[in-house]
């Protein structure tokens, strides 16, 4: 397969950046909706910001492939240090097909008031995330890519409450 065009990588990065800027709100990413879009967009983001693909050069990210429960990978991902919280991982989840979703209430940076939404992440993953982010500013940042061609961001700065 050919290496993606630079314009596509730019679009993928911009989508990821805005996904983290407005947590919980899906952003359109370059690969069109359909089977395989979740993984395609996830890999575009990784290629744009982390990793050349042929020889891994990037650190600081964890890729969760389709049909792999993210919880275990969230639990072991690096969280950074007090002086270098940016060493905490960006976890890119390719949530293919019809992923488990959790209804949540979100607040914090990027959110005007409170946002109630259905996140494409299961409760176990959210529990591991809460643990990983319990000593701010250390933590991990999740980016979920779905087959509808969107990205949803959940930075460590977002306060999250599971509803119901």
């Amino acid at each position: 397969m050919a290496h993606p065009a630079p314009e596509t990588l730019h679009a993928a990065f911009r989508a990821a950046l805005l996904a983290f800027a407005y947590p919980g709100r899906p952003r359109r990413a370059p690969a069109e909706a359909g089977a395989g879009a979740a993984e395609r967009n996830a890999r575009l983001v990784i290629a744009a910001a982390f990793d050349d693909g042929a020889d891994p050069e990037g650190e600081g990210y964890v890729f969760v492939p389709p049909n792999v429960p993210p919880a275990a990978l969230v639990a072991t991902a690096p969280r950074g240090s007090e002086e270098a919280p940016q060493d905490g991982a960006t976890i890119v989840v390719a949530a293919a097909g019809d992923p488990a979703r959790t209804r949540v209430r979100l607040s914090g940076p990027g959110i005007d008031g409170v946002l109630e939404t259905l996140l494409p992440l299961d409760r176990d993953t959210l529990a591991e995330r809460a643990l990983a982010c319990c000593e701010p500013p250390r933590g991990v940042d999740l980016l979920v890519s779905c087959d509808d061609g969107t990205l949803v961001g959940l930075p460590r700065s977002t306060a999250l409450e599971v509803v119901g």
Partner: protein
């Protein structure tokens, strides 16, 4: 004596293959000028910066066609962040026609083919030196600030090794002390531009040398604010809808530079004004030139 241990090669097979195919030469500019490793370095840092509001994230800043101290950081952020459909505004202390703004805008346009504008309402990405547009801005707009001195604690200690530790511990006593001494001695704060702000109740940040007039615009803003310091090799960010509070004692409310004058050209009383002594009379005019022109034209 300094000896070196062996290090593995750092060029990927794909990049080497590309080189071989091009016979070692590059034809013209890449899209958005930067090479892919430079873009990845900035982007990695920005993704972290946006998730840790106000925290200074180091990045491997590249040498640019624009000198260090002249916007090389803002430029790297803009080039790594833009998309082909962007409409880009670049302006400098309120002026789109400053020589440096023109040079930067020109490089962006030539290497990325994006449309450009002077109208902040139409821009999707705005690279700015030391001003926030007077216009009301909206969601999804990206503001890229050029930053000369990234660390607000520079005024209390020149050593990054010390201030890094202060930030890590969120020990901001030195800056409170600085402010206290001002108030005790002069009854007023001496912070002018670059007023230190507390972001999300956590890190103290420099909003870049914007005037105090612009600082409240950062608080709970609909737009995304990215800050690039190329010489110091640091980026930081403030997401939209984030608390940005000027460092000030409760009983000494934050004041802007507001005076009584109105713009001699457009009559505005709520914009940031600068003095104009070009004519025989001393007068005040808007720093935001494009906004002023549009106000005069009734747009």
């Amino acid at each position: 004596m300094g000896e070196f241990t062996d290090v593995t090669p750092s060029l990927s097979k794909r990049e080497l293959g590309d080189l071989a195919r091009r016979g070692g030469r590059s034809a013209g500019y890449r899209f958005a000028y930067l090479d892919e490793s430079a873009k990845r370095d900035v982007r990695r840092a920005l993704l972290k910066a946006i998730c840790i509001p106000g925290h200074q994230v180091p990045f491997a800043s590249r040498e640019m066609p624009v000198a260090r101290g002249w916007g090389s950081g803002g430029l790297q952020v803009t080039l790594a962040t833009l998309v082909a459909q962007d409409v880009v505004k670049v302006y400098d202390q309120g002026d789109d026609e400053s020589m440096n703004a023109i040079a930067i805008r020109d490089l962006i346009r030539r290497t990325a083919g994006v449309a450009t504008t002077t109208d902040a309402r139409a821009a999707t990405l705005i690279q700015t030196r030391h001003r926030i547009p007077e216009d009301a801005l909206h969601e999804d707009q990206v503001l890229v600030f050029q930053v000369p001195i990234a660390d607000p604690l520079r005024i209390v200690d020149a050593r990054p090794s010390v201030t890094r530790r202060l930030h890590a511990e969120r020990d901001y006593a030195p800056i409170w002390l600085y402010l206290y001494e001002d108030l005790a001695r002069r009854d007023r704060s001496s912070f002018s531009h670059s007023h230190p702000v507390l972001v999300d109740g956590s890190y103290v940040m420099s909003p870049s040398p914007i005037p105090r007039h612009d600082v409240p615009r950062l608080h709970h803003a609909p737009f995304l604010a990215l800050f690039g310091a190329g010489r110091e090799a640091i980026v930081y960010a403030v997401p939209p809808y984030t608390r940005v509070e000027p460092v000030t004692f409760e009983d000494r409310p934050f004041e802007t530079e507001r005076g009584e004058a109105a713009c001699a050209l457009c009559g505005a009383t709520a914009t940031f004004l600068v003095e104009d002594d070009a004519t025989s009379e001393h007068r005040w005019i808007c720093s935001d030139v494009d906004h002023c022109v549009r106000t005069r034209g009734g747009r």
